[in-house]
């Protein structure tokens, strides 16, 4: 290396670093040296020359990124199988940050090239993220795009064993991959574990890049939650009376009941309760019911919690009807599958946005993109069908008895009031009210008895994607494009709580059985659990790879299921915040999920025109035993796939008697 070259290197180096004064000084010195002609013997110091050489190269050239990344990739690919999967795991964050670095430097074309040459490796796992990133082409986009922004600022946790980490660092140093070394330092946080590498079964959060830092999520998930059921609920009382009957004589049961009643502080309707219980006992004495209930009791009963919200008082006749339903409930299990009644919407012209079924299946609501909400009364529908058949026969006879209460022609009640597509509808537990949420940013409350709009709730600033009545009525939760979920009560036009924290749209919301928590699913691919009383986020469930479309809470309060855009369903244990098992089977959006009343079955309805029934008990029990094992290989058993005739399933609902209702719009094009 001759002297001139060295001078040039130094010059470019200084220029690049922006050391202007130093550069000037350097120039002066050079000139002085030229004048004096006493050269510095650089050749005597080869280390210095190589260092200068490496430094003088335009340091962050896109080519170097490409070069170093491809080298790392081949190295990881050819490493020992034992450590391979751990090393491969590092590739994705490195890839993402390399790409963003290139973009940040403004080399659009090189960024595109880099992306095109390597993105295929990660497509199976991170398709949605890659699609988002692909559009980022200028430094300003990086700033603007929230996803990229958060990625740049946060660190990724990767679990890795000690040996793999050493291997990796050694390789990076040896091959002088300084860029990648920098990325690893800046953006990856190795959680080094001693000993053997972690088994290959994927720990989903190890490979997910989320906006919020993992530590925060872990921190949140440590909070205590009371997932138990409400004390003194009808079900509890019903079960207890059933239990007493099975193991003790009637009189004894009555005295115990008396104690129980005293314990309960609801003295106001104590008399009513007693009378109800007596009638209950008379009927619930059937031997089969007892046997089944005993079986049910082998599962440890859920702990009971107090309601944190003041709950509405149930009327006596309503209580009666619910108890009647409980008595007639079919016990479902993997051996006894439910009956499914399917409501098909026809002639919707692709305009059905959502549908909802009341708890007893007698009312069906459909929200349409023409801003209308239509409610069908199935009982009346049956009558009308009968009449029409008669009319067909007596063609000459005058038709006197066609007209319904509202109109002669329509088979449904039309609710008009929204000024945008209706995205969600929800019936109150008694079916006397229906809530609808719309793209016009409002939620409306309608009375199915008066057939009129009662209240319009304005509060969200963007389309409201989902609205759900609480299991006890009176309260409801809404989820919106404005990234918040809100809790309302029907008698106030202002929200009671605003749950903010999601990084993207809140797409769906669901109440916990005890009304103290709500779960929200979001386009940021996480599900969060919020405390209704405090409005705090108490759990973050990370694992989905695409937007979450449906949520369901098990009636026993332990579990939650969430379904996403890709057809994956995940079962979560609420207390630990961990995924029990991913359920693979659907190959399109999971629009709806529903647990059976005793939490033994999960039903899922999907855009692939199927209803699938999953066994919850087999998957969760072994998982509980082996909770400490990191990788649980238990997959929930798929019990049954029920295909429909080209009808995507948009809603599912188990009635109190465990009859499954499903609804969907017939679509020939799909």
């Amino acid at each position: 290396m001759d002297e001139e070259a060295v001078v040039k290197f130094v010059e470019t180096y200084l220029k690049k670093k922006g050391f202007k004064q130093a550069e000037l000084a350097f120039h002066e010195e050079i000139q002085q040296q030229n004048n004096s002609n006493n050269a510095v013997n650089i050749h005597s110091d080869p280390d210095l020359s190589t260092l200068l050489h490496s430094l003088s190269q335009p340091e962050d050239s896109p080519a170097r990124y490409q070069d170093e990344y491809s080298k790392l990739r081949t190295w990881a690919d050819s490493s020992l199988d034992l450590y391979k999967h751990e090393l491969l795991r590092v590739l994705y964050p490195v890839f993402v940050h390399c790409y963003m670095d290139i973009v940040a430097q403004g080399h659009i074309q090189d960024a595109r090239n880099f992306f095109n040459s390597f993105h295929e490796d990660h497509e199976t796992m991170h398709l949605r993220d890659l699609q988002k990133l692909e559009g980022v082409l200028s430094p300003s986009h990086l700033e603007e795009m929230e996803f990229a922004h958060t990625l740049r600022q946060s660190k990724v946790n990767i679990k890795i064993c000690q040996y793999s980490e050493e291997l990796m660092m050694q390789y990076l140093r040896k091959s002088k991959s300084t860029i990648i070394l920098g990325i690893v330092n800046e953006h990856i946080n190795f959680q080094v574990s001693p000993g053997q590498p972690i088994s290959i079964s994927d720990d989903p959060d190890a490979v997910t890049l989320i906006g919020s830092s993992q530590d925060a999520a872990n921190q949140i998930n440590k909070k205590e939650i009371h997932w138990g059921l409400l004390e003194d609920s009808l079900e509890e009382r019903f079960e207890k009376t059933g239990g007493f009957l099975s193991d003790s004589e009637k009189t004894e049961g009555e005295t115990k009941e008396g104690d129980m009643d005293e314990n309960k502080k609801r003295s106001m309707d104590g008399g009513k309760q007693a009378s109800i219980k007596k009638s209950k006992k008379d009927k619930a004495a059937s031997a089969t019911a007892k046997a089944v209930r005993l079986e049910a009791h082998t599962v440890p009963a859920a702990p009971r919690v107090k309601p944190e919200l003041p709950l509405p008082v149930m009327q006596a006749e309503v209580e009666q009807s619910i108890l009647e339903d409980l008595r007639n409930r079919v016990q479902l299990s993997s051996a006894t599958l439910p009956s499914v009644s399917f409501y098909t919407f026809i002639n919707t012209h692709n305009s059905l946005n959502c549908s909802s079924i009341s708890h007893d299946g007698s009312l069906v609501a459909g929200g349409f993109s023409d801003s209308s909400l239509k409610v069908w009364d199935m009982a009346k529908l049956g009558q009308q069908a009968g009449n029409s058949i008669l009319q067909d026969e007596n063609d000459a006879a005058p038709s006197e008895h066609v007209s319904g209460p509202n109109s002669g022609k329509r088979s449904y009640t039309l609710f008009q009031g929204h000024s945008g597509p209706v995205h969600s509808a929800s019936f109150s537990p008694l079916g006397d009210f229906v809530l609808s949420s719309s793209a016009d940013t409002t939620v409306r409350l309608w009375s199915t008895e008066l057939n009129a709009n009662l209240v319009c709730y304005k509060g969200h600033n963007y389309p409201v994607w989902d609205v759900q009545f609480s299991p006890m009525g009176h309260y409801f939760a809404s989820a919106s494009h404005d990234r918040t979920a809100r809790i309302w009560s029907v008698d106030r036009i202002q929200p009671l709580r605003i749950m903010a924290g999601h990084l993207s749209d809140v797409d769906c919301v669901q109440w916990h059985a005890n009304c103290n928590y709500i779960a929200t699913g979001s386009s940021d691919k996480t599900v969060r659990l919020w405390d209704v009383q405090s409005g705090e986020c108490v759990r973050i469930f990370i694992g989905h790879r695409s937007m979450i479309l449906s949520l369901a809470m098990s009636p026993d309060g332990r579990y939650m299921a969430s379904g996403d855009e890709d057809g994956t369903i995940m079962m979560w244990d609420l207390s630990s915040g961990r995924c029990i098992s991913p359920l693979m089977g659907h190959h399109s959006c999971v629009w709806s999920l529903a647990f059976s009343c005793e939490s033994s079955l999960l039903a899922s309805g999907s855009a692939d025109c199927t209803v699938k029934l999953w066994d919850v008990t087999t998957s969760t029990k072994p998982a509980k035993k082996e909770e400490n094992k990191s990788g649980n290989t238990h997959r929930m058993r798929l019990l049954k796939t029920l295909p429909t005739k080209s009808t995507p399933v948009s809603t599912l609902r188990f009635s109190r008697r465990n009859l499954l209702f499903a609804a969907g719009a017939l679509s020939k094009s799909q």
């Binding site: 002639n347 059905l352 459909g366 026969e393 994607w465 855009a607 692939d608 029920l642 020939k668 799909q670």
Partner: protein, 497 residues
């Protein structure tokens, strides 16, 4: 060098289209990636909207919604709402540009648009329900995916049967398998009808038909058989009678849903009621067959009239047509009168009594010896007359029942007097007459005039008095037997007094 999907030339073209001609190449080069980024952003939002509309196909409306969400004016004119074919971009390959697309914008003749008939309104949304599964098992109904299709196509290849949708109803051909025993049974019964319709074993067969529970598979065969036999053997009196008995037994069977086959059965039954000729000999008592069939019709109306509102009106219409048609023969009239009378007093009041006066004028011609020389014809006329009297009597009785007190002790007195009549029929005709007159006048009956008329005509004519008396007696007996039946009085008690 194009770094983004959007070419810088495209930017230039768009700039020109909005009137910017002096766009520097640098600007378009910088704009291109940004345009791509914005496009992706909007598509991403549009996909969100699509998901929230529970769809898996992106529509122009979704893009509009996404634009509105971003506070951008939506693009108008590209709506693909409803069933209309969405706008399709076509490649202008013919013009030599492989990346040039255009929307096929047809020239539409204004005249055609105006003259075109209004399109059909789209069908309103409706809801149907069916069982997708019953205790986990899918029932094989047309609303569900056919099971064979499930077996053949795997999960991935669902499109095969999805395309058909509901347009094709796969109905498996029904193979009806009749058990050997039932076949034998059917053969035996039909043989009995043809050969020995008077035997005791036939009566047994009728009883079995009326009570056995397992005969439902045979019902279509029997109805077909009945229709066949009636149409072929109109002159075989005994066979017709036997067939009607079979029909009656089938109708009586509580385990058979005969109503499904009523439409096939009714023509044969009506035929046996109002056919011109039933049997080929004079000795054949076709009157009895008509009476029998009339009761059969009444039975059918009583049993199925509630479920099928149009059944009785249709029968009544047919019968009244036969009754009021003077070209029809007298036996046909007789049949229709009996049929109507069997349907109840209100039918008689509604349909027979108003037509009685004109009808009797015609009938009188047939009844009188000097006008009608044919003995048989005259006999038939008297038969019809008897039927009319009976019908009117039933009607009167029905009215009488509505006046409380008339039928209790005083009615006893009437029977007594009638008993006297019975003992001295021939001598006391005059009394009989006066009794009838008082009887009639005593009940303030709207049709009194009519009935009076029908009684007076022959009296004034004073022809064949004996015959008339006989008929009067007959008709009054009819009325009283009916009263007795209704009141459930033992006949002998009445006769004793």
């Amino acid at each position: 060098m194009n770094s983004s999907i959007v070419a810088k030339e495209a930017i230039e073209v768009i700039a020109q289209s909005i009137g910017i001609t002096n766009l520097s190449p640098d600007v378009s080069l910088t704009l291109a990636p940004d345009v791509e980024y914005r496009l992706r952003e909007i598509i991403q939002e549009a996909i969100k909207c699509m998901r929230h509309s529970r769809r898996t196909a992106l529509t122009a409306h979704d893009v509009d919604t996404a634009l509105i969400l971003r506070n951008v004016e939506p693009i108008y004119g590209f709506g693909s709402g409803g069933d209309k074919a969405p706008l399709r971009f076509k490649r202008a390959a013919a013009a030599g540009h492989k990346d040039l697309y255009y929307i096929d914008d047809k020239d539409v003749n204004f005249k055609h648009v105006i003259e075109a008939p209004l399109p059909k309104p789209p069908l309103d949304t409706s809801l149907t329900s069916h069982w997708l599964a019953i205790e986990g098992v899918q029932p094989a109904i047309p609303e569900n995916v056919p099971i064979e299709a499930l077996g053949v196509t795997s999960d991935g290849k669902k499109s095969d049967y999805k395309d058909d949708g509901l347009s094709v109803d796969v109905k498996p051909p029904v193979k009806d398998i009749l058990s050997r025993e039932l076949q034998l049974y059917f053969e035996k019964v039909t043989k009995l009808i043809a050969r020995r319709s008077e035997s005791a074993i036939f009566k047994q067969a009728l009883l079995s038909l009326a009570t056995d529970s397992g005969l439902h598979p045979l019902v279509p065969y029997f109805t077909h058989f009945i229709a066949d036999e009636v149409s072929r053997n109109l002159n075989n009196f005994s066979l017709l009678f036997a067939v009607m008995r079979i029909a009656r037994s089938l109708l009586q069977n509580p385990y058979i849903h005969i109503e499904l086959y009523l439409h096939q059965l009714m023509p044969s039954i009506i035929t046996c009621l109002v056919a011109k000729r039933l049997g080929n000999r004079f000795s054949d008592n076709h009157w009895e067959l008509r009476n029998f069939t009339a009761n059969l019709v009444a039975l059918i109306c009583k049993r199925f009239g509630h479920a099928y509102h149009n059944l009785q009106p249709r029968i009544m219409r047919t019968l009244v047509h036969a009754f009021l048609d003077p070209t029809k023969s007298l036996p046909q009239h007789y049949g229709s009168i009996q049929g109507l009378a069997a349907l109840g007093p209100s039918v008689v009041r509604l349909l027979i009594l108003p037509n009685l006066e004109p009808y009797l004028l015609l009938l009188e011609q047939e009844m009188l010896l000097e006008k009608q020389k044919n003995e048989i014809k005259r006999h038939e006329a008297w038969r019809v007359y008897g039927a009319l009297t009976r019908a009117a009597g039933l009607c009167m009785y029905d009215r009488l029942k509505m006046l409380p007190g008339l039928l209790t002790p005083p009615s006893r007195a009437i029977w007594k007097s009638n008993g006297r009549v019975m003992t001295a029929v021939s001598s006391m005709t005059c009394f009989n007459f006066s009794f009838w007159d008082t009887f009639i006048h005593a009940c303030i009956y709207p049709a009194t005039g009519c009935v009076n008329n029908c009684l007076k005509i022959p009296v004034n004519a004073c022809v064949e008095m004996g015959f008339l008396c006989g008929y009067l007696f007959f008709s009054s007996m009819c009325v009283f037997t009916f009263i007795m039946q209704v009141l459930d009085l033992p006949k002998n008690k009445c006769l004793k007094t």
